[in-house]
């Protein structure tokens, strides 16, 4: 049987399915006669819960880092929250009910408050209130530490997993998480990504699969329960290939991006959010070759302020600790829309009002971003790059605006560094005038996705055109050569940040063209490094 869900981390897991029993179902309402004794039971259990949370905090600190561990400090504060404590005590006194029941009801009430808030993050916090309540209840009812007593690795299944449940689990015994509920923001999802194990959310499984054999396919978002022999063999092979590949790649960490005959190239990562930096460092990238700044605009209901942007850029620059961070200015429009920009409907959005065109028409938006980038430059090694350039005139206009921004910052005494400036080469026009453009900037980065689409006049979103689409079309490769030659002639360094940059069948050709940098998704850093180290140019 196959059940589908949403994958939060790719990969394949094969093993026994273990469905975690729900603990909050067991709470019964009982009448008590000694309210004071019952309150003491509650407060003792509360103290014991806090002790457990202290231990969990220390454990989590070591295993998943301070950011993820702090939730257990928050849980301790919640247990000390007077609204919470008084609500439980009042119920015990006024309704003469047992502590378990009072805690369960109080927990549900607070969880309900959070669940009804209009903010996804706060909604997800209702799980935290339930979690602390379940902890107290489990101590009150004498169930020590949950019921997970497996001694072989399993695929763990539950409605949703509370942070304290996930951290108590012995890591080496978890192959994968599968939950009925939860969001990409849930603790389970975050933990799955930290642990690098394939995991699914939103899977509607039935309780009776407990103990059966299962396969989690994190690439396709499916759970296969009781697979037939053929499917199982198939997945065992896939998993083996995955494992071998991963193990092999780990050997390339810390090594140089250098060919057998000594040619070096910079290998950077593409990121789309501040949180991706961890993945960049984990995969040993030499820098960030493309920091898409759109997330700041797309995740917001209004134009992000200079301060918000400054913090995001500064954080990335600081976390990268002196390594290069190339921030691409706003590339909104086409398929990336934010309502407040009010861009209107266009016949041909890919050829429409987007990216630098918006910035040059609405310089106040552009300046806010440039000020934030320049201010952040003080805290690391930041470069800036501009998308969708078609002419020298545009670049000159950008430099004029940059001059104004710098003058403003000087007047306000903000420190900033001499930021390296570059442009994306992603229109055939930019390729044809790249000799002139190279005199204006310090680097080029080729955006192969758009460049290919514009060169071949093929809409990538239209599946009917797949037969005509050739990512290795000689027209595109000739353009890449031309860009590299023109860039170098004027002293620019040249890179590729589109999908083609990670295509290892072309790595050798890019090196021969003289490319100085490839920027790829974090997970492709090591595969591309492996390819580079296997190349001999002479």
């Amino acid at each position: 049987m196959i059940v589908t869900g949403k994958s939060v981390f790719g990969g394949i897991a094969i093993g026994k399915l273990h469905v975690l029993a729900k603990s909050d179902e067991k709470v019964k309402r009982l009448s008590i006669s000694d309210a004071e004794a019952e309150k003491k039971r509650f407060n003792d259990a509360r103290e014991k819960s806090k002790d457990q949370l202290k231990v969990l905090f220390e454990k989590a600190l070591k295993e998943v880092g301070e950011d993820n561990a702090q939730i257990f400090e928050v849980h301790q504060l919640m247990l000390d929250d007077l609204d919470y404590v008084e609500s439980v005590e009042n119920m015990i006194t006024e309704e003469a009910v047992n502590a378990e029941y009072a805690v369960a009801v109080t927990g549900d009430n607070f969880a309900e408050i959070f669940a009804s808030m209009d903010d996804d993050y706060m909604k997800a916090r209702s799980a935290d209130v339930k979690d602390i309540s379940n902890r107290v209840i489990s101590i009150l009812s004498g169930n020590g530490e949950g019921e997970f007593t497996e001694d072989e690795p399993v695929i763990l299944m539950a409605d949703d997993l509370a942070p304290s449940e996930t951290v108590q689990l012995e890591r080496s015994l978890i192959l994968s998480f599968v939950t009925r509920f939860g969001s990409s923001n849930s603790h389970t999802a975050i933990l799955a990504r930290t642990m690098n194990i394939p995991s699914l959310i939103g899977v509607d499984f039935s309780e009776d699969c407990n103990g059966k054999m299962g396969i989690v396919d994190g690439y396709e978002g499916k759970l296969i329960i009781d697979p037939d022999e053929e499917t199982l063999d198939d997945y065992i092979k896939k998993k083996k290939a995955d494992d071998e590949k991963a193990a092999l790649l780990q050997k390339f960490k810390g090594l140089d991006n250098v060919t057998k005959d000594g040619r070096r190239i910079n290998l950077y990562a593409n990121i789309g959010n501040v949180g991706d930096v961890a993945n960049v460092l984990k995969n040993d990238a030499g820098g960030i070759g493309l920091f898409r700044s759109e997330f700041l605009y797309l995740e917001s209901d209004d134009y992000p302020t200079e301060e918000e942007q400054f913090r995001a850029y500064k954080k990335v620059a600081q976390n990268m600790n002196g390594k290069k961070v190339i921030i691409r200015t706003l590339d909104i429009g086409d398929d990336k829309q934010a309502d407040y920009f009010d861009l209107g409907k266009e016949e041909n959005p890919a050829l429409g009002f987007r990216a630098i065109r918006i910035c040059l028409e609405k310089p106040e938006i552009f300046k806010t971003q440039l000020r934030a980038i320049y201010r952040a430059s003080h805290y690391g090694n930041i470069s800036v790059m501009f998308p969708m350039i078609t002419s020298v005139k545009e670049v000159k206009k950008i430099k004029e605006i940059l001059g104004e921004v710098k003058a403003e910052l000087d007047r306000e005494s903000f420190p900033y560094k001499d930021v390296e400036i570059g442009i994306m080469i992603e229109t055939p026009a930019a390729v044809m005038v790249s000799d002139e453009l190279a005199k204006e900037v310090q680097f080029f980065s080729v955006g192969t996705n758009d460049l290919t689409q514009y060169t071949l006049a093929i809409d990538r979103q239209n599946p009917k055109l797949d037969a005509f689409y050739d990512p290795h079309h000689p027209a595109v490769l000739k353009m890449l050569k031309m860009v590299a030659d023109n860039g170098h002639a004027a002293g620019c360094w040249v890179g590729i940040c589109g999908e083609l940059g990670a295509d290892t069948t072309l790595t050798e050709e890019f090196l021969r063209m003289g490319y100085d940098e490839l920027s790829v998704s974090p997970s492709m850093i090591l595969p591309v490094r492996a390819a580079i180290r296997n190349i001999k140019l002479k």
Binding site: M78, L82, D83, M117, D118, D119, R125, S300, T305, R311
Partner: protein
């Protein structure tokens, strides 16, 4: 009583971790501390109340401190907000 306004700058608003740290700061003070949004004040020493205000980025909060040494406490809390939120 000493009070001040502050506009939250963190893109995520007052989320669980800084809320916890703020509550800890407030709890270290013997007097009363409240935090409010749109006229609704809650006890700043109670994390569930603080979180349930649901303060988002760009929204203004009012912090009121009452008791001995309130000025210093208000300054401390303000510095905390500026550094963390």
């Amino acid at each position: 009583m000493t009070e001040f306004n502050y506009t939250i700058k963190d893109p995520a608003g007052i989320h669980a971790r800084p809320a916890g740290l703020f509550v800890k700061e407030a709890a270290a003070f013997d007097g009363t501390v409240t935090i409010g949004k749109n006229g609704k004040d809650v006890d700043a020493k109670r994390i569930l109340g603080v979180m349930s205000l649901g303060v988002k980025s760009g929204e203004q909060i009012t912090v009121k401190v009452d008791g001995a040494g309130e000025k210093e406490v208000a300054d401390k809390l303000k510095a905390f907000l500026e550094a963390n939120l």
